[in-house]
């Protein structure tokens, strides 16, 4: 009993320490953002005169309004299409399982490990030949393709657990496959679909490589790509850079906090499944 209690106490202490290590960089970013613009504040130190206006300055310097709009458009282009295509293919490979579906699945499975840097050069020339360089399509179209492996593996893992009787019953009622998909399987897949949507949202928002290679104008990039440009421009003004970084990462935190319960458990389960 005593051993158990001591173990629990050590566990608590360790957990708190680990949480502190995770949180401190955020705190440092926040505190530094409050120092007078252009200074080099030493370490983590609450400023004598907190400059809350730094956030406003960073908002204007980064053109945050336009950035939000740009990222929003990219997310709207990527996420619904990826969800639709991924779910359809997941259904095809997990429920219909036509001849050859195993091979197709393996093909997608290989893409799961693909480093984006591996194909960035041909992507650049493909997008250039399509006349889409420096447009949001340059990020949207490749991202849909690049998100297919994960989306399909994720959705197939869900569809494969759905009993075949469900399909049979609906067929007896005269539903065709398309109706079966929309009226029965998609509603049942909502939990898997919504956590996939959150993941794809975050990955789009945070996409950096495609943004810096394919789009020069920071105002047509994703948030992460714009942050890269912001660092290049304001990298010497540490408080302003910190304020800008905070503004750019805050929406991801908000999304996470709103959906976190469902999200963390889904992701942990999904990672093991796939």
């Amino acid at each position: 009993m005593i051993v158990g209690r001591r173990e629990a106490l050590v566990g608590r202490a360790l957990l708190v320490a680990l949480m502190a290590v995770t949180i401190v960089p955020f705190v440092s970013l926040f505190v530094t953002a409050l120092h007078p613009s252009g200074t080099y504040p030493p370490g983590v130190q609450w400023p004598a005169d907190p400059q809350w206006s730094n956030f406003g300055d960073a908002f204007r310097a980064a053109n945050m309004g336009r950035l939000l709009e740009s990222t929003g458009l990219i997310v709207l282009g990527v996420v619904p299409a990826s969800l639709l295509f991924g779910t359809m293919a997941g259904f095809g490979l997990g429920q219909i399982r036509m001849r050859g579906s195993r091979v197709v699945f393996l093909l997608f499975l290989l893409g799961l490990t693909l480093p984006f840097e591996g194909i960035i050069i041909p992507l650049y020339y493909t997008i250039r030949d399509m006349g889409l360089l420096n447009t949001r399509w340059a990020i949207i179209l490749p991202l849909i393709g690049l998100f297919m492996p994960f989306s399909i593996v994720w959705m197939r893992a869900h569809f494969i657990t759905m009993p075949a009787e469900l399909t049979e019953a609906a067929k007896v009622d005269g539903a065709n496959v398309w109706q079966l998909f929309w009226r029965i399987h998609v509603p049942l897949a909502m939990p898997a679909l919504s956590s996939l949507a959150i993941l794809l949202f975050l990955w789009t928002w945070n996409q950096f490589l495609l943004a810096i290679v394919l789009v020069d104008d920071p105002l047509k990039r994703t948030m992460a790509g714009a942050l890269g440009a912001f660092q290049g421009q304001w990298g010497t003004d540490i408080p302003l850079l910190c304020a800008g970084s905070l503004l750019i990462l805050t929406p991801t935190l908000l999304v996470f906090f709103v959906f976190q319960r469902q999200f963390v458990s889904a992701l942990l389960a999904g990672a093991v499944k796939s």
Binding site: G11, F85, M98, A164
Partner: protein, 322 residues
């Protein structure tokens, strides 16, 4: 998972012929209008396959094709066969980044997985408490923010006036202080530290989730048999977590080998070339030095390395879990 017998979803092919039948009101006929399931299956997969083909599969093939040429991206190209690959494995400037990527595995994989195992084992008993609930949220934060933001945060923490040095001075180790990312000997480990921070929480949570599935009576039995904490860990925890450990190692190894964002933001590959990684080198070769052939050869090597590292882990895991 019982798989339905092949063919239960297959309609007799003959019925498809009735597709153009004018009498379509009856249920039987409506059923008959359905095209063969194989075709339907392919139609469902088609959009995904097209996007994947155009923006992933074809680019892989083109990378392979370009890697066999000497090309500046605009002028005429010259066939060089495997020359670009030979260059990568003989030129230390090109081989360096690959070695760096493997060194990063130590920080991106070994540190988070071992530390995560240690932490998860220690907090296993309080996994149901409120504190652990809060921890689940907090430890996940580094996974949610852009890696670019993580890079900016840590560049500042590791700078010569940053928190890391402040803490070192506070505990009397002031002689160690330096600009960690600007020093030839510490820059690569410092980049690795950033990656470890990003991945530690994820690994801990994954392992903890795996532990919650272990039958608690196993531990009680071990206690009764007089097993210590170490014995418990080796005989119960480790074997039960094989799958979760494999997942952690896979995710983190991919993150290490294909690291780009963090390095681009925190060091740009410097000082000198001391933190240059393959992903960043591909980017520089292609878009600054206009050496498309070599860049593509390196990209091929990178993709192959990731597969060659990840597949054995998966295979090993699968074989063992039977």
């Amino acid at each position: 998972m019982p798989r339905p017998v092949e063919g239960t979803t297959t309609r007799p092919p003959g019925r498809v012929a009735a597709e153009s039948s004018p009498a379509e009101k009856g249920r039987r006929v409506r059923r008959a209008r359905r095209p063969a399931p194989a075709l339907v299956g392919w139609l469902f997969v088609a959009p995904a396959l097209v996007m994947y083909g155009v923006f992933v599969l074809r680019p892989i093939a083109v990378t392979l094709q370009y890697s066999l040429y000497d090309w500046d991206g605009a002028g005429p190209s010259t066939w060089v066969g495997l020359g670009n690959y030979a260059k990568i494995f003989t030129d230390p400037d090109l081989l360096g980044p690959i070695l760096h990527a493997f060194q990063l595995i130590v920080f991106f994989s070994a540190v988070p997985v071992t530390l995560g195992l240690f932490v998860a084992t220690t907090i296993r008993r309080i996994a149901q408490s409120r504190l652990a609930g809060i921890a689940r949220t907090i430890l996940f934060l580094p996974q949610v923010i852009p890696l670019v933001a993580a890079g900016i945060m840590w560049s500042w923490l590791l700078s010569s006036t940053g928190l890391v040095n402040q803490l070192l001075s506070a505990v009397g180790l002031g002689s160690l202080t330096r600009g960690w990312l600007g020093d030839f000997t510490t820059a690569l480990p410092a980049v690795g530290l950033i990656g470890a921070w990003v991945l530690l929480g994820l690994c801990t949570l994954l392992l903890l989730a795996g532990m919650s599935k272990i039958d608690q009576t196993l531990y009680e039995a071990a206690r009764l048999d007089g097993a210590g904490a170490v014995r418990e860990f080796v005989s119960i925890t480790l074997p039960s977590l094989r799958q979760e450990i494999a997942v952690c190692v896979t995710i983190t190894v991919i993150a290490a080998l294909s690291s780009f964002d963090i390095v681009y933001i925190s060091t740009q590959g410097g000082p000198g070339n001391s933190t240059l990684v393959p992903g960043l080198q591909v980017y520089y070769l292609a878009f600054s030095e206009r050496d498309i052939g070599t860049a593509c050869a390196l990209a091929m090597v990178l993709m192959t390395l990731v597969l060659a590292t990840v597949l054995p882990i998966q295979w090993f895991n699968r074989e063992d879990s039977r």
